[in-house]
Symmetry: C2
Subunit: 434 residues, 2 copies
Amino acid sequence: MENKKVRVGILGFGTVGCGVYRVITEGHDSIAHREWLDLAVKRVLVRDFVNEPNIDKAPREVFTTAIDEIVNDPEISIVCECMGGTEPARSFILACLNAGKTVATSNKEVVAKHWPEFEAAAKASGAGFYIEATAGGGVPIVRTLIDAMPSNNIESLMGIVNGTTNYILTKMEEEGLNFDDVLKEAQALGYAEANPAADVEGWDCVYKLAILGSMAFHARVEIDAIHREGITKVSKEDMAIAREMGYTIRLLAIGKKIGGSHGHIELRVHPTMVPLSHPLASVRGVFNAIFLHGDAVDDIMLYGRGAGQMPTASAVVADVIYAAKAHEHRYMTFDNTFGAPQTLTLQKDWISGYCVRLLVKDSTGVLEQIAGVFAKNGLSIHTMMQRGEDSTDGCVTIVIITHHAKELALQTAVESMRDLDCVVSVENVIRVER
Amino acid sequence: MENKKVRVGILGFGTVGCGVYRVITEGHDSIAHREWLDLAVKRVLVRDFVNEPNIDKAPREVFTTAIDEIVNDPEISIVCECMGGTEPARSFILACLNAGKTVATSNKEVVAKHWPEFEAAAKASGAGFYIEATAGGGVPIVRTLIDAMPSNNIESLMGIVNGTTNYILTKMEEEGLNFDDVLKEAQALGYAEANPAADVEGWDCVYKLAILGSMAFHARVEIDAIHREGITKVSKEDMAIAREMGYTIRLLAIGKKIGGSHGHIELRVHPTMVPLSHPLASVRGVFNAIFLHGDAVDDIMLYGRGAGQMPTASAVVADVIYAAKAHEHRYMTFDNTFGAPQTLTLQKDWISGYCVRLLVKDSTGVLEQIAGVFAKNGLSIHTMMQRGEDSTDGCVTIVIITHHAKELALQTAVESMRDLDCVVSVENVIRVER
């Protein structure tokens, strides 16, 4: 049997696009041998030839600046979109899909924002639309969700899906440093962008959670339905206290299906205290991990590199090979969960544990007053800790971890505490998952 | 489009077979909704109707004691083999494959021993042969290897693939108990068999490593090519010393490809010290995990339940759904790695770190003599620790961790040390992976 000839186009020749070119080109013979595919890159779209830093990484003749040279090339059947951002990525993806070309993309932002449009275009022309690299980089979460646990109802997912913030939090944890100092170091090392907002403010996690949540819960998740908090307010004191109480702090993307198939879905990105014994607590540095609970398979965790040239390229090329061997493609319809709402809106009244850190005056009756506020709001206290009894300014720190409670009840309690004379400040509130 | 009708036979109605029945039957409507399949169990093969403990878990009419009622039923296209053991499982699998029926199995022993025979039969009739549940239970390792990282050359894999032994080692670690005591407790709780040899002597791991190694390295791995050591010789002293030096001990199934595509493959199952910071060190209790290094994707770890009714059934049904949707099946040929040997034999001269624990006489010059033996055999010392200086019997414990060294050099050194007058005994040698 002759190997099936498959010609690929690549849109964008930055870090990921160049990695895809390398994996396909250097792997040609072993892919032919193992997968019976003659896979090669025919065309790479770049913005121009002058300012392209990777232009020497491929022969001059593969490059083009005209998207039409890919869209209109009948020999190219699969296109890898590795440009990032929304435009022109969105238009180019649609042009390829409309022309019947399967698209594999690493662009989480454009998928999070325009996925249904891409699925509809793909379905109309019979092309495939593949996204393994968008949600976990090299972590094989998409294939796992689609092919390895299809009979499961997924009840929850919790992901460390941003390497930059996990690197920062791990450094804060291991070296007792403050957020600002670690961020500067990460920027100097190239682990964080000069403008770090997409990472440290949680946007990158929101995009990935929109994609993961849509797949896990079989319902379209718009990014507006996701609560977002970054890590800029996590202090070294928060981390030290977490460690002292047997936890660490990670920026988690959390999705839960509450109340079974006729319940609701909650989605949130925020710094989270997790017990040191939880598998997610051992995920250090730039590594990512996604922890799932399915009703049959129970707990699963997938761990790996969520970004980087070769891990991301590995995932894109996995999609290319999968698509090249598929006889027909699969489409997400985003409406196929029993009883779940087709449109999700942000509902802030989820249930979580909370760690509240207060600075209070060191006088008698303080604990009683604070405990009273918790009780009045129906909040049950799991652990209470006092620190800094020998301080000279007459203030002590009180840390309270609650049992599971409603977010709105907790927020009401926090507001009430701010009004107490004995409370100097509410230093931070961090949610707790166990 | 009407849902595709797929009828399934199940061989064996023990824990896993009964779980498969439950997942398919209880999941019928959601599988129909999401996967466009009308999936149902038509027949279940049992040995007899009298001694079958789960006979009340399905309607009487689905059961049969005649394999021919499944093999000759044209409506049944997929058969789940959940009997375990080699015979009659092997004959029944072959009968089904020869009849053109796709087989999904959870039986690691029969696959480890007879895989090429099954692949040949499947290929001849056009049936599929699926094994997701054999190597990792609910851990989605097979789909990951085949579909999520096909462009990668896998350089190493290290797996915690037996829940019973990991439960025992974790208990020893956390509670400072001896192997025998934890084993008895595990037997009382049903986590270990009355005859625990298959688990604690490493056979279960060998079967799984044969399967994982065959897939990861694209070469047929016979179980005879795998070095096997169980955990019966791991003492609470070993565990305490490991912890003190920043390690824990896990029973690992290890596969490595040494020297690139023209090098060789080594496969071994033995207790292994891993640093506490390694992701595998955080895998506790009955959980399993498989850690891989691919040349593009870098490090990946998959974590989950390696056994148990519903996790295993989840994996079998994932195979059933995957097979039901496939237009053609994929076959392992076991010869498709560039340059790798087609037949592997056990080569014991691998490279590893080693932790050697010695009981020696507490006299001057002892360390010098021991260091001399290491040096003479070309072994470089990474860490050396002395313990028990205040012992009354005149003996002390010396623990030495080596840098990477050849197994045969280490074994030669150990023999030489036994001959030294100052060495009372070589208490244990445990390999170290970092």
